[in-house]
Symmetry: D4
Subunit: 216 residues, 8 copies
């Protein structure tokens, strides 16, 4: 394949399969890359995949699954047993942040981690967040997906002594500038120890959470 160089050593080197980023690739290119990677032994993940891309993949690799909300294609080849005592918690500020949050959650699950979800607990009704305080405190790593002003990351960061991954989303309008407001808010969080990833980068947040949760 002239258009892609597959990185078979990556799993050994980095602890997770290289993902395929589908935007800017034709459905046919993605399908061929998945087929080639399917000759290896590791799980395969394709992000930002639309239905048309999935159809092309399905034709060449029938066992591929599609997660529509998260826009992920997954081919499962490994069986990993999560450690039930060390879970990753994925929190969203609103309902509209769920697709990006699911991209993060599924990525971490594919890496063999237990993932819990708490959705729609933004700071404007902060009692909804505090109702989940016990779960928040028992998580090992927390991902906070939020758009608009992204304040939830600061509040959660102030509650726990575990790393918080701030995942800004492009949810919002006007002066949210497609996620810029949330991104800047999270980068300037007054709570120390917050790790920020790119806007809408659920995959990166999931991978980072998985890496952290594997440390021991």
């Amino acid at each position: 394949m002239g258009f892609a160089k597959i990185d078979h050593h990556r799993t050994e080197r980095c602890g997770a399969p290289e993902a395929i980023y589908c935007q800017g690739k034709t459905a046919e290119q993605v399908a061929q890359i998945v087929e080639r990677m399917n000759q290896g032994a590791h799980d395969i993940l394709a992000t930002r995949a639309n239905a048309e891309t999935f159809a092309a993949v399905k034709k060449l690799v029938p066992e591929a699954e599609y997660h529509e909300t998260a826009k992920l294609i997954i081919v499962r080849k490994e069986t990993l047993t999560p450690d039930p005592d060390r879970f990753i918690l994925v929190i969203t500020a609103g309902t509209s942040d769920i697709p990006i949050a699911e991209e993060a959650a599924l990525t971490a699950e594919l890496m063999g981690h237990r993932v819990e979800r708490v959705f729609d607990v933004g700071v404007a009704g902060i009692h909804r967040l505090f109702a989940q305080e016990e779960k928040i405190r028992s998580a090992n790593v927390i991902i906070v997906a939020a758009g608009m002003e992204g304040a939830l990351a600061s509040v959660v960061g102030g509650l726990v002594n575990k790393p918080v991954i701030a995942l800004p989303t492009s949810v919002g309008y006007g002066a949210s500038f497609e996620g810029l407001a949330a991104l800047l808010g999270m980068l300037n969080s007054c709570a120390a120890g917050i790790a920020v990833v790119n806007i809408d980068n659920g995959f990166g947040a999931g991978r980072l959470a998985g890496m952290m949760n594997s440390m021991r």
Copy 2:
């Protein structure tokens, strides 16, 4: 004075004396404007005044006072009795936000309002904020001064059913972009009913709070 047109009708029209914005004016110009306004019956307020400007004013109007933290020059000519039951609360996220918060508080006090202050209760240690919940709930209007990510405005906005004035400050560094991150955060607040003013505009926040607190 060719360089300034004084607006003697303003108090009748708008409920508060026009303030003098000192930046970009020479100390001498400010002093002359204050002197001219001193012929009227109303309080005088000069914002963003440095010590040199105050010295020039003091020479022409000896009764002028200087509030160094807030960089305000005040000439008091009226005696207004605040309504003790309706107070404005000024909250800051951090210690560094105090100068701007004081500009707001003194402006509102000069308009005849009772002002309470709660400083350094940012969201990274949210129990410090909740320790003040009773005071927050009994305020009539609340000003929240915060730099960095400005999340405090959203949290306070979600707690009360009174108007919250979000006052972004330029406190921060790096991607705070001199207050831009706080400003965008506050404009995108998920708490509805938040009024935003310009970065470091303590005077505007104080004036707006005074106006709201006068409504009945």
Copy 3:
């Protein structure tokens, strides 16, 4: 519902029902949230709703109304009698600002306020504005919706001693940068005491106006 946490206590706490922000939610999700909230006693408001979303809501909650210009879905459950002596005035600079202005006006009306409208009185033909001066002076709170350079907010703010809510719209092209020029203009208004909300945030402006108009 895993995807949304409904905030039944909000009306008591904040004086108004929580609104549903429809963008980024599926029609089906909005419909289910409205149906669940319909079990409560309070009015329901869904903003930025398109026709497809309304159709889904209508199926589950037949009494829902749709305001197409303002893109609002409303379910009325309360009967509030506005105080005729205290009205909110909604002004637009141009005809293209009307949809956002209506979002603000309907939001405030749903909160039980009398709302008056004056449309298309931008500063380029300032006599059109002054022809409305009496109405402007008798309003209790004023919302000014304007795109392009947003200068109308400053002019109105200089005329009255009541709070002015500046509502920038994305009307314009080129260097308006989808409302940024209006937003910056309003934040830098030389008229003190102006409250700014996010670009196109008619709902926020309406809610804030309602809150202010309830103060006494």
Copy 4:
């Protein structure tokens, strides 16, 4: 002089002497350029000159004058009689805009035009502007210098049927972003027929006004 090429033909070609922009040049360089240009027959103008630069110029060209407010060095060599019936009006929104406005006014006067000045008539107290309506209507060309939100240009542009030159200044703070808010406001003015120049470009505004006022 290796560092500068003087453009002796410019006056014939463009109707005005080339000005020397002093920033980024050493005092010595400016002085040598002025001395060389002084061998010609035309007036000389050096903009953004500080006192040190003037001292260096004065040593080589003793007849040079310094206008401190406008930061201009002028060497007068021509006697032009302005047409009293066609005047340029320079208006400022505030006192702090005067230095830039004077740069514009002096530039136009040096080109042989009558210039009138009206300072400190910003839109927040719009009756101050209307008190000058007759003078505004009798001007042939109008320059409006304003910082902050720059709304004055739109209001003046709506009052007259003569060209208005909008001159944004860097007066302001916070979200004025050193004149950006005023610049964007003026570019998006809802009043048609407004000519915008760079932030703080008093020289350019004066030159443009002079050119326009020479048309017949």
Copy 5:
């Protein structure tokens, strides 16, 4: 009409009919405004009109014309004889700038001016420009429409002693940021006496040119 206030006095006051800006208005709204304005005696101009809007206008005002390239609807009611000795020249850097240039040219022609056009003479092949030097020098006012880096305005501005109106267009890609590069280039032109208008604001450039060309 609740949605629009027609400004019948504008022609007397400003020398040109108020134009209707079609974006953000429904086809029906535009048609009704044109019909109402058609009761007056002046020409009517609607900018940024698409075919659907024209169809709606045509139904109510059959004599309306549509200029597709420039997206203008015109209703001619006046006969003005241009002064053949004083013409406005409209220059473009490339072929893609023609639609905006035509908006400017037609606007000025409707105001009763003679307009000449020279298209596709950008600075990358500067001999194409110099081949037109005589025409450029004989123009009374020049409009330069250019996207990308907008350098043509500076070169033309350096050639003539008449006002140059720089009209940035959104032609370009990547770091042109939809016309921002051209706009900034024109605002910073090293040629003095250049009047800048908003990106793609052909109407404003045409109106300003007409105003200037009427001065005598």
Copy 6:
């Protein structure tokens, strides 16, 4: 043709035919320009052409070819023999950068150069890059096309003593801001001697590479 001035002297002057930039031109305009240029003796290149434009060209100039990935129309009229010992290398960071890279490669080939391609060797798996080190070191000029953070240009620039042309692409999402992150990264490269072109400007990169490779 009123809408375009063809620059027949360009090849002599600049060593390459003027290309036609198709965006913002109608298919008919492009076709007519190609037909006119076809009367000359040089190759013709039209960039950013879609299928509809190609169809229009094909009708008038049947020998035209279309390169779909690169969106180029080419009419070959010259036979140039590349120097096999001096080749241009085109490298991409990912598969999604290929269309822009092909625009560059085909442009350089049309100028008579040998071009080699190495795709999908981004820095996240840097051994893929080093596997190509010999080819990289033997190239005479290198083009590096990369989106996202654009780091590949710095790494390649540090490996060779030949000029590197950094070609940022708009591949990415969120805070890539449509290629801005890659552009800024490349402009700030810590490797000296890197030549940057506009985002997605494959044509410019190819032309520049051709010019450099012709130097001797």
Copy 7:
């Protein structure tokens, strides 16, 4: 102390003492806060402290130390024994990034971690980096401090299967926009699993690294 609320519970809650951010506070305020915190049992850290602030602290708390390069004041009260097998590696691209890198390193050391340093191994001379490959691979957590284009974070991220904290610095000029280029580059890194912090936020990077290194 009205100006600060000390958060004595923070160590229990978050695993590290609250740091004092000195910018925007007077030397006297910092000194009083340190003195008050000194009554507790935990280490104290004050960031971005200048010499004058340290002098004020020293007077009240003589055992305070000053780290000039990193601008840190430290009061040591605890003795923590680092785990020698799990170290944090701090890497810089250049010499100018060292002050920020030291802020990170000292913060992590104060939390009880072993920290190793590798400075001046930017990607423009990538063999300098690979000479350190063994140390890089044996680290448990890696902080990469880099200004300019920030590419080093991507290269390191591609080499290891441990979390990488990308710390952008404001080192650079021109289009680095005071660290923005490095920040955007790091957010868009093609290497997955990178945690980004604010520009020049060495403290946050150190705290995050310490938190991660404590996970087991």
Copy 8:
């Protein structure tokens, strides 16, 4: 030296000694790096050096020279004879661009190239440029240093068939945004084959020119 890793192999690899970028380094650090590099056989270049840094270097390496305008420290150790037939031409738009242009020129001269200079020939007086046309056409590589709108690069790029390196400078004010306008203008140049470097990056431009001029 813990703070710097010297890259002795660089000259062989890249054809030019590694330069020392002085900003962000102490004078003492620079002096030590120069001293260490002085043990090698190659010329040494330190950029953006102030007088204090030079004094520190001079003490350890007495043969070092200082070029004040260009802010360069040079230690000459090699004797290279330039090829007189292949020269690099450095052009500036204005006098204020000379310091950056000299940084470029001296860098290229140190690499062993003949450099010619033509200063102050900006496009506003384009005949000054054309007076130099012969010299421009005989150059082998051209560097164009320009601030403000940077249009000179486009005009020169259209005149020649040799590579043009566009070097934006931070000369300007207001909407030049410290060189951003020039940078964007150059990136969007309508003349193909222009290589852009960072704002004020004279060193990079000189290095790139030297590399190109060495190709044969």
